[in-house]
């Protein structure tokens, strides 16, 4: 993850420098192998797709298959009985494209590619007969002749009226090591709707763990960018035969219906051979299947059978069209690759190759990712390592903090004087009924006699060295801190004897404003004006949290008004509540009147350690 984040950051930086990135991404028309051969700065380059079409093509290509059908039969003119095809009959080979829609070998294509009727294989045989008749001069107009046969002809097998023979093969390229091999599988027709009634067929090939494509089963809006992918027949005539599909970009031009079945008109070029190939959106989902062109129109006026028809056919056969885990891994791997996260990409492509052996594109992109520095160890491992590391740090520091805290408390307890001065206002005691005014409501007591209501008291200026329960002016966690000159840990010659509290040990009510906290003589250190000391302390400590996990204050929940009212008394107390670093300078001041409570400091610690009370 760290590496990925780093690479993403790198990508972001590179994105700001177009000159640095312009040469690196593969273009939409560049196949992965070509991209691999292109000189790139493997260390710095991010293989972001140059266009959405490139990503869509990369997502779709693995599932594109070449569908070839060998038809065999004779053609009979039903009017004359003349049979064409001789003794051996005609053998015609047609080619289409298709897309694997389930990993276990279901292939979607156009039904006219596999249908035996005049628009399918029968038509192919008719065409063969027409071609043969043309050679002997028995055809004036071939198109019209084909129409004649479509109307009056019969394609049949060896026996009159028997079906013609159809051998469907689905071909795809597979990676075997560093080589690419052509896998040819026989296919059977699972179901189809006639070409004029939807033009969708589903085939089955005896293969599993195949790369497959998602089917978009909603209506695709007009204007949606699409790619028509397939194998144009003319391409193999122009270049060396291969199974590299062509991707033609365009968009959905219109939604049409034919015999009530939805079709899409799209603007991408599509030629013979691309029939049955998928029309995909930019997320690689099948929008439709290339169906037919419009006679007399340009190549950019084509129709695609709707994916909804395909979905219907699949449902009719109770086939669940769902891609496999390896397909999801491939998509993720591609995304990681395009993001520049080559380690993760390699990991995902490895998973793809494990789940779909021979996955050509995964093999190609894995090589590209590896060439760009990707290694199989993936980010999740790093994440786990870092998570464990952080957890260890958390435990260690929490343990250390607790240890320090306990050590500190023990030391404070050991040095504390066993008395607690309770302010006269009685607000310092959270629970008046509790004989130990220093015990907070919860079990996480602080040395201070009063625990703030929020349980997360801030060290206030009035805290005499303990620093756990403090009055915070204006805050919701104000612990009405009595003017305790010592919470039991203050040491010094002047405090060796318990000072008298400013108020009687049992305060009247918590609601009483803490005005009486100020003893007659105040606590201002000798030589320091009370007002100055107050100012300094408040500034230094009014926001520091000192209690973690404290309990809410149950009594005397201060309201803002009370908090405001406490300012003055606190400030008056503050000179005695010196912070740690100034504690040695604290002057004992005037001892407070009242009876000492030797157990009060202990109560605080005990409560802090579990709420056990040893006091009366």
């Amino acid at each position: 993850m760290i590496r990925r984040t780093a690479t993403l950051l790198g990508a972001a930086v590179l994105a700001l420098a177009p000159t640095a990135t312009a040469a690196t991404p593969a273009t939409a028309a560049t196949p992965p192998d070509a991209a691999a051969a292109a000189p790139t700065n493997a260390a710095a380059a991010v293989a972001a797709p140059s266009s959405p079409e490139e990503r869509a093509a990369a997502l779709a290509r693995p599932a594109i298959v070449f569908v070839s059908v060998t038809w065999h039969g004779w053609v009979r003119d039903k009017r004359t009985g003349e049979v064409f095809g001789g003794t051996e009959g005609f053998e015609v080979k047609t080619s289409c494209s298709g897309a694997v829609v389930t990993p276990d070998g279901h292939v979607a294509t156009a039904s006219h590619c596999v249908h035996t009727g005049p628009l399918g294989g029968g038509g192919a045989l008719f065409a063969a007969a027409v071609a043969e008749l043309a050679k002997v001069g028995r055809v004036r107009d071939e198109a019209k002749a084909r129409r004649d046969f479509a109307e009056h002809g019969q394609a049949e097998g060896a026996v009159p009226d028997s079906p013609i023979h159809r051998a469907i093969q689905v071909e795809r390229m597979e990676a075997k090591g560093s080589e690419q091999v052509r896998d040819i599988a026989p296919a059977t027709v699972v179901d189809l709707v006639a070409p004029e009634d939807g033009d969708v067929a589903v085939l089955k090939i005896p293969r599993d763990h195949l790369p497959s494509m998602e089917i978009r089963d909603d209506q695709t809006p007009v204007g949606t960018p699409i790619l028509a992918i397939g194998y144009p027949g003319s391409a193999s005539a122009a270049v060396d035969p291969s199974l590299e599909p062509s991707s033609k970009n365009g968009q959905i031009s219109a939604r049409r219906t034919q015999q009530g079945r939805p079709f899409y008109e799209f603007s991408a070029a599509a030629t013979h051979g691309m029939s049955g190939g998928p029309v995909v959106d930019m997320d690689g989902g099948i929008v439709g299947l290339v169906s037919q062109g419009s006679p007399g129109e340009t190549q950019s006026f084509n129709f695609a059978a709707s994916s909804q028809t395909l979905t219907d056919v699949l449902k009719g056969k109770e086939i669940t069209a769902d891609i496999g885990d390896h397909d999801r891994d491939y998509r993720t791997g591609l995304d990681r690759y395009f993001e520049g996260d080559y380690d993760s990409a390699v990991e995902y492509f490895d998973a793809v190759l494990a789940g779909s052996p021979g996955h050509q594109q995964a093999s190609e992109y894995r090589k590209l990712a590896a060439d760009r520095g990707g290694k199989p160890s993936g980010p999740p491992t790093m994440l786990i390592v870092f998570a464990v590391l952080c957890a260890g740090i958390a435990i260690a520091t929490a343990t250390a903090g607790t240890a320090v805290l306990l050590t500190r408390r023990k030391r404070l307890a050991a040095a504390a004087t066993p008395s607690l001065a309770t302010p006269g206002g009685g607000f310092a005691t959270p629970n008046p009924a509790t004989p130990n005014p220093a015990t907070p409501g919860g079990g996480f007591a602080t040395p201070s006699p009063a625990t703030p209501g929020g349980g997360f008291a801030t060290p206030g200026p009035a805290t005499p060295g303990g620093g756990f329960a403090t009055p915070t002016p204006g805050g919701g966690f104000v612990a009405p801190q009595p003017a305790t000159p010592s919470s039991g840990f203050a040491s010094g010659p002047g405090l060796s004897a318990p000072p008298a509290p400013a108020t009687p040990p049992h305060p009247a009510t918590p609601a009483t404003p803490p005005h009486p906290a100020t003893p007659a003589g105040g606590f201002a250190p000798a030589g320091v004006p009370a007002s100055e000391a107050i100012t300094d302390k408040v500034t230094a400590h009014d926001v520091l949290p000192v209690v973690l996990g404290g309990q809410p204050q149950h009594h005397g929940e201060p309201d803002p008004e009370q908090t405001e009212r406490r300012h003055d008394p606190l400030r008056q107390d503050q000179p005695d509540e010196q912070p740690d670093d100034g504690r040695t300078e604290v002057q004992p001041g005037t001892p407070l009147p009242g009876q000492p409570r030797p157990d009060q400091p202990h109560d605080g610690d005990q409560a802090h350690e579990g709420g056990e009370h040893k006091g009366p």
């Binding site: 065999h72 002997v136 001069g137 870092f386 998570a387 520091t397 973690l548």
Partner: protein, 214 residues
């Protein structure tokens, strides 16, 4: 002033707990990310099952039909034959053209003669043979020879002319055992038939009519 050891500073505790909290948050966040980014869904190698290959088609055949080239409609553009015009003279070579044939794929055919005229010469005199009528016959052929099996029906009559004018009319006869075998070649729109035994040769061209599509 205090004689007791100074407790650890509060800031240290705060820092420690803060670090602990931060590390805990970090660990939680990383764990969450690791869970969310759980790695590849697959990964376990799968066994590749049987991968059948296409099997070749079982050969089938059908009885040979009549040559499709012959089927159709033809018109003779060149007829050459030797006929015995006079009973007391040797056969005389004639030539002409204009017959029309319709060869059907069921092995039947019709010959149409509409003033089909053959001309010859005997001792400086022009001879003419004019045929009119239709002939139904059956035929078969292989790739080299055509056999006229039987003349099943005919309305053809031949009128013979010499320098004297019409000298006779001869009706054609039905002949079930015709079995006339001629050599032929058929290429495209041209059919050439000949019989070396009787000097017959005929060149046909395909014309509009039955057997032509489109």
């Amino acid at each position: 002033m205090s004689d007791s050891p100074r407790p650890p500073g509060r800031p240290a505790v705060v820092v420690l707990f803060s670090v602990a909290a931060a590390a805990l948050l970090g660990a939680s966040a990383l764990t969450a990310v690791a869970i969310a980014d759980g790695g590849p869904a697959g990964g376990d190698p799968v066994a590749v099952g049987d991968r059948p290959s296409p099997t070749p088609r079982t050969p089938t055949s059908r009885a040979a039909g009549l040559p499709m080239c012959i089927v159709g409609t033809w018109r003779t553009v060149e007829d050459s034959l030797t006929l015995k015009f006079y009973t007391d003279a040797d056969p005389i070579p004639f030539s002409g053209g204009g017959r029309r044939y319709e060869f059907r794929p069921d092995g039947t055919a019709t010959e149409f003669q509409e003033n089909w005229t053959l001309t010859g010469n005997y001792q400086g005199n022009e001879l003419r043979l004019v045929g009119n009528g239709n002939t139904e016959f059956t035929w078969t052929a292989n790739d080299k020879q055509i056999t006229y099996k039987a003349r099943t029906k005919t309305t053809v009559k031949y009128d013979s002319y010499d320098q004297r004018g019409l000298i006779g009319t001869t009706p054609q006869e039905v002949k079930a055992d015709l079995n006339e075998v001629d050599d032929y070649t058929c290429q495209g729109n041209q059919f050439v038939e000949q019989n070396a035994a009787n000097g017959y040769r005929s060149v046909w061209v395909r014309v509009e009519g039955a057997g032509v599509y489109g």
